[in-house]
């Protein structure tokens, strides 16, 4: 017993996680950090050399970077918001007694199981103004929409696709959260004759808060990586209106070979995301303590 007690349980329980992450990620993260301080072009590897903060100093003046950043922020906030609202709504609905509940639950999860490249291609077809089925149906209702032809709409069409695919994730997480809630508070509320809205606001929502924090943060992290839909559908167009930050970094690093610049941008991006996630985490936590 004596020797084993040296490492407290709380550390023992995270050891497998930490070891695995260190083993896989320490080298890639370290080397990409090094690369971010180099003039590192894949087509001229022999000429690579350190350039200090040059790659970082370039970023504030890089209009494309900030344009892509703002597109991404608009995308992330609107997509995650809609997914949360719809996902929570569906979770509440399916938490009730609904006929064929298990059937509905598993069918409503399926959009997650299609690889995003394919989802992008399917919607590229379905939303096509000339021969897509959705514009066709809308036209028969007298509505004429061209989903990817004009500037703000194209970005929101991408949001729409993301909502279709990832609302199920919110539903899954929040539904599991609802299922794990203790019963007693609800029974107490019922005995007190509380209205449904009151119960939701004063019992369900506060109890669900830890799960909600996690749901929003995880979804946000993933939404920042939006890439496939626009890679497949718009390539960032019309103009620069749907270019996302991941797509921009991918192009600079992989398509144009300038890995040094791409790595520097990645670290700036990581910092921005970290800041956002941290703020969100603290905000939601503060809300909990009041």
């Amino acid at each position: 017993m004596g020797r084993r007690a040296i490492v407290p349980l709380k550390y023992k329980m995270v050891i497998p996680l930490v070891l695995l992450l260190l083993a896989v990620l320490i080298y890639p993260m370290g080397s990409s950090l090094l690369v971010s301080f180099q003039d590192y072009r894949l087509t001229a590897l022999r000429e690579r050399h350190f350039v200090g903060f040059d790659n970082y100093l370039r970023i504030p003046r890089d209009a494309r970077f900030w344009n892509a950043m703002s597109n991404t922020l608009i995308f992330v906030s609107s997509a995650v918001f809609l997914e949360f609202v719809f996902g929570f709504g569906l979770a509440l609905l399916l938490h009730r007694r609904v006929r064929m509940r298990n059937f509905f639950r598993s069918v409503l999860l399926t959009p997650m199981f299609i690889t995003p490249v394919a989802v992008g291609l399917i919607f590229r077809f379905m939303l096509n103004s000339e021969f897509g089925i959705i514009p066709y149906l809308l036209r028969s209702l007298g509505i004429e929409v061209d989903f990817f032809a004009t500037s703000p709409l194209a970005l929101f069409s991408i949001v729409f696709i993301d909502v279709w695919q990832w609302t199920p994730f919110m539903m899954l997480l929040l539904l599991a959260g609802l299922e794990s809630l203790p019963r007693e508070p609800f029974e107490a509320a019922r005995v007190d004759g509380a209205s449904a809205w009151f119960t939701f606001r004063k019992v369900t929502f506060p109890l669900m808060r830890p799960v909600i924090v996690v749901a929003v943060i995880i979804r946000m992290l993933d939404a920042f990586k939006v890439f496939e839909y626009l890679y497949v559908i718009t390539r960032g167009g019309p103009g620069n209106s749907t270019e996302s930050i991941m797509y921009y970094i991918y192009r600079v690093g992989f398509r144009f070979f300038r890995m040094g610049e791409a790595a520097a941008m990645s670290y700036v991006l990581a910092l921005i995301i970290l800041l956002l996630v941290f703020l969100e985490f603290q905000l939601l936590r503060m809300a909990r303590s009041t």
């Binding site: 032809a149 960032g236 019309p238 103009g239 398509r255 144009f256």
Partner: protein, 410 residues
């Protein structure tokens, strides 16, 4: 026990067989030209019992990323790669590809000069050969011959006429368009629009290498392109790629399309177009000079056995095999094959190959050099900006010129 013995000897036989034949892995994509190669492989394997060919099919858009990472490994898992024309110079300059020059010159009867000139030149970087032509995708004008005949309109041979005819044939109420266009940002709009530039004698660089993408001729060409897009193409075409434009054509909803020459047999195939099959014909792009694309066979510098890889690519690009490949439906790259009556007879007919000869005589890739990919993306972005009305034509091409200067400066 007996069974175990059998199993062990089975394993031994298997591993001997595996040792006996060396595997050559080729990265390709899942397209008809790859199927043609699959049909030819048994013949190669019969002649070279020590080699076995495996094709690893990858999605087109991701192939370049996959190839690039494999270049960085000590030994590539691909023995042969196929390279698209915008990548050739960058890959060669990066030192990723084997210099094939001496091998090509030493090979008797290979006749490198037989490859159509514009095509073979793309495989050459600073005087050395790094890629052997696989198949061409030069652009041509595909038309609905029946529509032109019915309307009594002659096939346009210059770009201004082309734009005029497209407008004339458009009937938007009935959903019929003069031109199936692909104005998607990036490669697509540039690939299409550059034919308009060639028609007016404009280009990205002049002969001395000066940036002339913002010349008044280039601007005039872009104006014509946008005029055609607005008058004769569906509105959504601002975000269309090849696939949408081709489908519009295949569905019988467009009169013309500037696209890859070998899409003609596809369009005339009843499996793709049903009753419309046979009504399509192709011509040189208006103005005569076309955008050229082509795929190349190359050997990674870090391939496991360069000699074995060379045996395959020199065989598959030889005159005799090229002839078989083209008869099976592959897109030709050798002049001798294009002019071979036997090919005419067994392929798509004399007219088809002679038109192709004319197209290949005067064709040029979008951009060459070390930053080809980035320049293409940049021009394609600015053209799309102009087409979407985000910038004026003047501003867009001036910005493109500035951006290119910066890219080259890097």
């Amino acid at each position: 026990m007996k069974r175990l013995g059998l199993f062990v000897s089975f394993l031994a036989v298997m591993s001997l067989a595996a040792l006996g034949a060396k595997t050559l892995t080729i990265i390709m994509e899942e397209v008809p030209d790859t199927d043609v190669i699959r049909q030819l492989i048994p013949e190669f394997e019969a002649q070279n019992p020590d080699l076995k060919i495996v094709i690893d099919a990858m999605p087109y858009e991701a192939m370049r990323d996959k190839i690039l990472t494999e270049f960085l490994a000590p030994v590539s898992s691909y023995d042969i790669v196929i390279v698209d024309n915008p990548w050739t110079d960058e890959f060669a300059a990066g030192g990723f590809l084997v210099d094939l020059t001496d091998r090509v010159m030493a090979l008797e009867g290979y006749d490198f000069e037989d490859f159509a000139k514009p095509i073979r030149e793309i495989g050459i970087y600073e005087g050395r050969i790094f890629g052997l032509p696989f198949y061409n995708y030069a652009l041509a004008m595909i038309v609905r011959q029946d529509v032109f005949d019915e309307a009594g309109i002659p096939i346009p041979t210059n770009i201004a006429d082309y734009v005029k005819v497209c407008r004339q044939l458009t009937n938007k109420e009935e959903g019929f368009y003069g031109a199936a266009m692909q104005a998607k940002r990036g490669y697509k709009i540039f690939e299409e629009g550059k034919n308009y530039m060639y028609a007016l004698g404009a280009d990205v660089f002049d002969d001395e290498g000066n940036i002339v993408i913002n010349s008044h001729l280039a601007k005039a060409a872009l104006h014509l392109y946008i005029a055609n897009l607005e008058a004769a193409a569906p509105k959504g075409a601002i975000n269309w790629g090849f696939d949408e434009a081709f489908r519009l054509m295949a569905a019988g909803k467009a009169a013309t399309m500037i696209t890859y020459n070998w899409m003609l047999p596809s369009l005339n195939n009843p499996e793709k177009t049903g009753e419309l099959a046979g009504k399509f014909a192709f011509y040189e792009v208006p103005g005569g000079k076309a955008v050229l694309g082509a795929w190349y066979w190359s050997i990674p510098r870090n391939a496991a056995d360069i000699e074995a890889s060379w045996r395959f690519i020199s065989w598959v690009t030889s005159k005799a095999v090229e002839k078989k490949r083209v008869i099976l439906g592959g897109a030709p790259v050798r002049m001798s094959v294009l002019k071979d009556p036997k090919v005419w007879e067994k392929g798509y007919g004399k007219q088809y190959y002679l038109t192709l000869v004319k197209i290949l005589e005067d064709a040029e890739p979008l951009v060459r050099g070390l930053h080809a990919e980035e320049i293409i993306e940049t021009v394609g972005l600015e053209m799309n900006n102009a087409a979407a009305g985000i910038k004026t034509v003047d501003k867009a091409l001036d910005d493109a010129a500035k951006a290119i200067a910066e890219i080259i400066g890097k």
